[in-house]
Subunit: 187 residues, 2 copies
DNA sequence: GGAAGTACTTTACATATGATAAATAATCAA
DNA sequence: TTGATTATTTATCATATGTAAAGTACTTCC
């Protein structure tokens, strides 16, 4: 659990009791490459922290697989739109390498908020940061060409290109795989 | 302030003390059509609630005016990416009609979080909901044609078309004004 | 009420990206 | 290793949206 608490410390330092409370509602999950953590169509009740591996959130639009986001080591991944609304999620989380994750039960986590304001604050700060990332991404999608977005991705997250199949990168960038291949061809 | 507290009640009901504390750090602002609430280039330290009027967040990309979002009566508007990071904002908030707003000082608000966990929770819930909206918007931008996005906007927020110049709507939809005009021409 | 500035539309042409299909390359399982 | 599956690239053609320029219609303000 130590890597998880190190991650937390970047946002808000917890007391020993706070850490213990989170440890109690969390468990380590090992999972094989290319498998789904949770299926589409259920309400999301888990926040995952990635100890080792890569994961993506994806969904289907007209039978086409669309990657919404990627997450790597020492980051969390969750289907926020279901977690916060309680609605069933049209999305799934899939692991792209043999991975080791820490699964935090969100139902129990949200209950801890009453007893531990420090935990509520911690997750508030984590999700505020994620929210800012999402706002920036809208700007990227809306006002940069596919080529600019691809180059920005190489620069900011070169790991993605190394560890993730290009077909997933394409839909993440909002283009077809053919288009991505064309962009990569230009040098 | 009553309209503000009614808005809050949709997320978390505050105690009288909590309401009073917020009232003390808030003030009513009346502002004329087409003026900026705050200039580009400063750190955002205000969350606005719109009592009457319309506002938009905008910025310049290569000298072109881009609208990031609109907000109408009984909603809040804030440059979240600056509010949460403390960085200066490249964005400005502009009012598109003679408007009446409630300005909440965010520096003082964040200080209240320690004393009033109920206020911290309130704003956590408000921004969680906004975050979910942003996630949904990415999907809209990325995987729907401009025409689909325009029609979705008419359906979800017909007010926008009535109260906001089309040039602002165009950049909000991620297209040029010419393109929007073309789409509107098709019937 | 008229002039000046804004907002909106229309046209013509350029271009980035999509769709489809086929070829090649890489990965995986027996 | 070999064959089968999956991933990636390449080519061709279609189309949505962008750019530029000009025209029309509104607003605003003196």
């Amino acid at each position: 659990m130590e890597s998880l608490f190190n991650f937390f410390n970047k946002y808000n330092t917890l007391s020993k009791e706070g850490e213990k409370a989170i440890a109690e509602i969390s468990k380590i999950v090992e999972i094989k490459k290319n498998t789904d953590l949770q299926p589409i169509g259920h309400t999301c009740k888990t926040i995952y922290f990635i100890k080792k591996g890569v994961a993506r959130i994806y969904y289907f639009k007209d039978d086409i697989d669309i990657t919404e986001s990627f997450a790597f080591e020492n980051n969390i991944i969750a289907r926020v739109e279901s977690l916060f609304t309680g609605k069933t999620s049209r999305k799934a989380i899939q692991v792209l390498e043999d991975s080791e994750l820490i699964a935090i039960n969100s139902t129990q986590l949200f209950k801890l908020y009453d007893k531990f304001p420090e935990i509520e604050r911690l997750f508030r700060l984590i999700f505020e940061a994620a929210y800012v990332g999402t706002i920036d991404r809208i700007e990227g999608i809306q006002f940069h060409t596919a080529e600019e977005r691809y180059k920005a991705l190489i620069k900011e997250a070169p790991d993605v290109l190394k560890r993730v199949p290009l077909k997933f990168v394409a839909s993440y960038l909002g283009i077809t795989q053919v288009s991505l291949s064309r962009i990569r061809g230009i040098r």
